[in-house]
């Protein structure tokens, strides 16, 4: 992580909270969706962000692009802090940072042909003469594996995989330096997922952009990422090289996540997590994972562990037990009952 070059994108201590009410007369409580996330994306590399629903991975993606203003922390792009969201400077900056969403049909305008939608960013940022744009649109469509004549089609005339390609073509129109992909393959069929993953890797090799790949699928993250960060309840609990994290997960949560991957020909018993995914509105004290953790100790319920280097492979882990502050326990049965 500590390389000589400036990272393309760097986030420090990002915090984002929302006010949530329970019931129409309930008192508003603060929900911390993202709670002190720091990460860096190197140029031409991919950072995978994994976690279960509600862990704050999508919010983190939005904060990185300034689509939402953080309540704390800073995002800097190429060494410069991100301008205030909505300002003219931010809009200019955003041309270089693009987002790809999960549901391509929702991200495309159903009443416009694909070509017009891919050309739109060029028009907004006044790039090239109007006459040249159709050529550029065709180039972009070809880059994502669509044909030039797809430009005249409407989104409903394309298959799910083709729609996601069209969304990618539009994102690439501004030749972005950073692409944030929020669950770009989870709405697609298995055979199409492989096509889109291949395409992302190819596009990165060709255009050299940095990527943030947000997904709940560890296999997919390994396939496309150079580094992976595992999130749990708004915090990064483990970060490292994909193979290191997948083959020798250090944090008990990552261990459970890896063990839960269904796998043809898998042998041995699965590490089963007890309990439900946690509610961000009712965050457990100390380490947020302790009520479900098989090795939690009393310290884990009192004090939140800090994300710090552990091991020689450049890995960061936030766990008292892994860091050796306490020996592994057998969970906290009293707390499990109360949860």
């Amino acid at each position: 992580m500590t390389t000589g070059t400036t990272p393309l994108l760097e986030a420090r201590g990002l915090v984002r909270s929302y006010a949530a009410r329970r019931g129409p007369w309930g008192r508003a409580t603060e929900v911390r969706a993202v709670d002190g996330v720091s990460l860096a994306v190197q140029p031409g590399r991919t950072l995978g962000l994994v976690g279960e629903s509600g862990c704050g991975k999508s919010t983190t993606g939005r904060l990185l692009l300034g689509m939402e203003a953080p309540d704390g922390g800073v995002v800097s792009f190429e060494g410069q802090p991100l301008p205030a969201p909505g300002s003219a400077a931010w809009r200019a900056q955003r041309a270089r940072m693009q987002m790809v969403f999960q549901d391509p049909l929702g991200a495309l305008d159903r009443r416009l042909p694909i070509g017009a939608q891919v050309a739109e960013p060029l028009e907004i940022h006044r790039i090239g003469a109007a006459a040249e744009r159709s050529g550029r649109v065709e180039e972009l469509l070809n880059a994502v594996g669509l044909r030039g004549d797809h430009a005249a089609r409407y989104p409903h005339e394309l298959s799910g995989g083709q729609r996601q390609r069209a969304v990618l073509a539009r994102a690439l129109a501004m030749a972005p330096a950073l692409l944030v992909c929020d669950e770009p393959i989870s709405a697609l069929d298995v055979s199409i997922q492989a096509q889109v993953m291949n395409l992302l890797v190819e596009l990165q090799e060709r255009f050299g952009m940095g990527m943030v790949f947000v997904s709940h699928d560890l296999r997919a993250v390994r396939q496309v990422s150079h580094r992976v960060a595992v999130m749990y309840l708004g915090r990064i609990v483990e970060e490292g090289e994909p193979d290191a994290v997948l083959h020798a997960p250090a944090h008990p949560y990552t261990q459970a996540l890896v063990s839960a991957i269904p796998h043809p020909g898998r042998a041995g018993r699965r590490l089963m997590l007890q309990g439900d995914p946690p509610n961000p509105a009712d965050r457990p004290s100390g380490c947020a994972f302790h009520p479900r953790c098989p090795v939690a100790r009393p310290l884990c319920a009192r004090e939140a562990p800090v994300l710090k280097a552990g091991g020689a492979d450049g890995r960061l882990v936030a766990c008292h037990v892994t860091q050796g502050a306490v020996p592994a326990g057998a969970g906290l049965p009293a707390m499990r009952k109360a949860a």
Binding site: R219, R266, L273
Partner: protein, 329 residues
């Protein structure tokens, strides 16, 4: 009843919506207590199969063929017969538990409704049985949870409630249609584990419909792979994953990103699933197939045996079966 006789037998089941075929002749048998996985991509007909078998499709669907449950024909059966079968002998759970449960009724009432309908219980026994069912599906503090509304429970808990309702009629077969697709991976592992242990406890058969090969590998004894309204390969789970025969099955397995080894380009299947109104003349997979030969477009291949209890519908399997027959003759 003969123990070897299938519990449910589908014969040449066909479904069409407004003249467009969604299911194009499907044969499948489920033995008592067996776990069968049905795998395929969206639109391959894996869900339609069981909706058609249980008479749950809208009237615009034309269904033909035969669905027999222990000797009783279900297609075209009277509503009274179907009411006894559905929920009583065959139960079904769906992908999204939140939309299958009624949001304005308490959990307890919904479980009790199934018990009243299928077991004729009432009064105190029905409440006790509802609590026992919630306990059985692993819902903590079941007695209090009976008073909860679906929105007060998590997605995984709601799916457990759906399973409890499905178990209320003591079914011989549970059809689970993508039961874990809407859930997180760690919760998916819990639900699959629950289905396994329930099957051991109650001896019911399970049909698991999913797009995830990994899920069937761990849960099912036999797997049917579907493509464009037909079963293209059927085999015991172990031999399907060890020696997949149909190019589509091999393609699906190769498209899964590996967990280890060097990262290389995934072998993706080119193109997309054919639309029902533009079905290829012969084998439906031919346009996407890397091993296509001239004969593929002539006629849809018939499933032939390629190993023990292992059948594939591919012209290459047909040819090698013919050669073997000649050699042994």
């Amino acid at each position: 009843m003969n123990p070897a006789a299938p519990l449910v037998e589908l014969r040449d089941l066909r479904v069409a919506f407004d003249g467009q075929a969604a299911l194009r002749g499907l044969d499948l048998a489920v033995a008592p207590g067996e776990a069968v996985g049905m795998v395929g991509e969206s639109g391959c007909g894996k869900s339609v199969t069981w909706l058609a078998a249980l008479g749950l499709l809208p009237s615009c669907a034309q269904v033909s063929g035969s669905v027999r449950l222990g000797g009783q024909e279900l297609l075209g059966a009277s509503p009274a017969v179907l009411d006894r079968m559905r929920g009583g002998r065959i139960a079904m759970i769906f992908q999204d538990p939140a939309s299958s449960l009624n949001p304005v009724h308490r959990i307890g009432r919904q479980v009790e409704e199934a018990l009243r309908l299928h077991r004729g219980l009432s009064g105190a026994p029905v409440r006790a049985e509802a609590k026992r069912l919630l306990d059985q599906v692993g819902i903590p503090d079941a007695a209090r949870r009976l008073h909860a509304y679906p929105h007060e429970l998590s997605g995984g808990q709601n799916q457990r409630v759906m399973i409890a309702i499905a178990l209320a009629g003591r079914p011989e077969l549970l059809v689970a249609d993508e039961p874990t697709t809407a859930l997180d991976v760690t919760i998916q592992a819990q639900i699959l584990d629950l289905l396994q242990s329930l099957r051991r406890e109650t001896g019911m058969a399970l049909v698991l419909i999913t797009h995830d090969l990994g899920v069937v590998a761990e849960t099912c004894e036999r797997v049917a792979v579907m493509y464009a309204g037909r079963i293209v390969e059927e085999a015991p789970a172990s031999s399907l994953f060890a020696a997949p025969s149909h190019p589509y099955t091999r393609g699906l397995l190769a498209a899964l990103p590996p967990m280890d080894g060097p990262r290389r380009r995934l072998a993706s299947i080119a193109g997309g699933v054919p639309e029902p109104w533009a079905m290829p003349p012969g084998c439906a997979f031919a346009p996407r197939c890397g091993e296509r030969v001239g004969g593929c477009d002539a006629a849809a291949p018939v499933a032939v045996s390629v190993g023990e209890a292992h059948r594939a519908a591919c012209i290459r399997a047909t040819v090698s079966a013919m050669i073997e027959e000649r050699l042994s003759a």
